[in-house]
């Protein structure tokens, strides 16, 4: 397969169209994928938990934060797209080659560990949702793991991408639930532009949730995933404008769905206030509570959306691990290669999925410790990953004048880096001095 790619001198297939408009539209559809998938997959099981908790605790008062995060998430991933198209290589390979072995090994180790722990939380969500749907976790978890392996083992990038896009489309069902359960449009619109104060003022729980939302919306694995995905899809220089649109559409969808999850959480809070006490513990418990109020369609739908988010999250996170490891090791790493041609790449993917699924099925596994580990590692890794991205995007030798950051890109990015460092330090301050903010 590698040989075929290297010796390709003429296009092997093409679609004939009769108008410029059709040409543009078809080209966009052919490029569409990496940006959309990386963004929608970011609303994984952990994100469902964070956003519904934000809605269940603070109602619509944190919606403004999502509007602020829309340009942030787009700017970060647009830089990744530019880097991927300009170099044709993954992010891990780029750090290794440009910053040396120490930083390369540090980034890779951190990414692999964080990704694995995140995958454990994805399977924990599948376990929880399946149990509540009346399906044995000992059946649901292994079946999902096998399905996730089959999804990539067919040796077709296009097939994997199509399945992932279908999962992205299914995620849009959050919109229907938000419209059905949410407050009036005017309430939502007001909350989007006017930051609301929580009833007990700014507490440590509020600060922690703000940090969790930021950390959930921009995750380190996303940088590695999108760049490797673009490299694997072999996007061309001329595809950059379409990839930007792909990324922007993905950014809008991820923020819209995050807002919908908050509104669903808010529905549970409002119903709890009117009819019965409700204290949020996890999305599955929230789904059961909503089911009591609005029927099994709501309960089962939210549980299935949780599983969908976890499945999409797992395939992308495990792929980012496999691509990164393969790039650094110099192994052939492509979804278009057969298992026999890229055994290391597929082994890393499958091993991550199987170990994470297996760990969740162990009775008494320290899941709370793992969730804490994910938060700590993500907090440590995100600012460092963004610093490398910023340095690489200013590397004129690597990118040339066409792809290198413009001055305004740098201003925006340094502001983002400053905010991320500040949030990390607030989180650190809370660890050292837990009483720095009043308890909520």
């Amino acid at each position: 397969m590698t040989q075929r790619i290297e010796t390709l001198t003429t296009p092997t297939a093409g679609r004939v169209v009769r108008s410029k408009w059709a040409r543009r539209w078809l080209t966009f559809l052919m490029v569409l994928g990496p940006g959309l998938i990386v963004m929608v997959a970011d609303n994984d099981a952990g994100a469902v938990s964070t956003y519904t908790q934000a809605g269940a605790t603070y109602g619509v008062k944190l919606l403004w934060l999502l509007i602020f995060l829309l340009p942030v998430t787009y700017f970060v991933q647009e830089m990744v797209a530019r880097l991927g198209i300009a170099t044709g290589q993954g992010h891990a390979a780029m750090i290794y080659k440009r910053f040396g072995k120490w930083w390369g090994a540090f980034s890779l180790f951190d990414l692999e560990l964080l990704n694995f722990l995140t995958m454990v939380t994805e399977f924990a969500a599948i376990n929880l949702a399946a149990s509540m749907l009346g399906i044995s976790p000992y059946l649901a978890v292994p079946l999902t793991a096998v399905g996730l392996i089959v999804m990539v083992a067919t040796a077709s990038y296009r097939r994997w991408e199509r399945v992932s896009i279908i999962l992205c489309v299914l995620d849009l069902a959050w919109l229907a639930y938000a419209l059905f359960l949410g407050p009036s449009v005017s309430t939502v619109a007001r909350a989007c532009v006017l930051p609301g104060m929580p009833p007990h003022g700014i507490t440590s729980d509020y600060i922690f949730l703000v940090i969790a939302i930021v950390g959930t919306t921009i995750a380190p694995w996303q940088l590695f995933f999108q760049q490797s995905c673009i490299a694997d899809k072999r996007l061309r220089f001329s595809d950059l404008k379409w990839e930007r649109i792909d990324t922007f559409i993905g950014a809008c969808i991820v923020i819209l769905m995050a807002a919908c999850m908050m509104l669903v959480g808010d529905a549970a809070r409002r119903y709890g206030l009117q009819h019965a006490g409700f204290t949020y513990t996890d999305p599955a418990q929230m789904a059961r509570f909503l089911g009591q109020a609005f029927g099994p369609l709501v309960r089962n739908g939210v549980l299935l959306l949780m599983i969908n988010a976890a499945v999409l999250g797992t395939t992308t996170i495990s792929l980012s691990s496999a691509w990164a490891y393969g790039e650094v090791k110099g192994w052939p790493s492509s979804l278009d290669m057969k298992v026999n041609d890229a055994p290391g790449f597929y082994a890393v993917y499958a091993l991550g999925v199987l170990l994470a699924a297996g760990l969740v099925l162990i009775p008494g596994a320290p899941l709370q410790l793992i969730i804490l580990g994910v938060q700590v590692l993500a907090g440590i890794m995100l600012p460092s990953a963004i610093i490398f991205l910023q340095l690489l995007l200013n590397d004129k030798e690597l990118l040339g004048a066409q792809f290198v950051n413009k001055p305004w890109n740098n201003v925006v990015n340094w502001i983002i880096i400053g905010v991320l460092f500040a949030l990390s330090l607030v989180l650190a301050a809370q660890v050292v001095a837990p009483n720095i903010f009043p308890k909520g």
């Binding site: 093409g14 679609r15 040409r23 300009a86 910053f99 930083w103 590397d395 660890v431 050292v432």
Partner: protein, 69 residues
């Protein structure tokens, strides 16, 4: 993509001719300009501080400091 009078051929990136990208191996490591050095130094400092905080938190959770107080 080619323009053939009134028709256009749209080629999927995976079916297209592979583009020549920058040769990263030939470039070698990034030149350590003062701004790159400063950024990496700040990053090292941040990682050391965060590492120490995590260690402190783990020791605190294990009850070591409660024992000492």
């Amino acid at each position: 993509m080619t323009n053939n009078r009134r028709t256009f051929v749209v080629v999927h990136p995976l079916d297209d001719v592979v583009e020549a990208k920058v040769d990263v191996e030939a470039l070698g490591p990034m030149p350590l300009t003062p701004s790159v050095k400063f950024s990496l130094l700040v990053l090292r400092g941040y990682l050391i501080i965060m590492g120490l905080l995590v260690l402190y938190h783990v020791l605190d959770l294990s009850g070591l400091f409660t024992h000492m107080r």
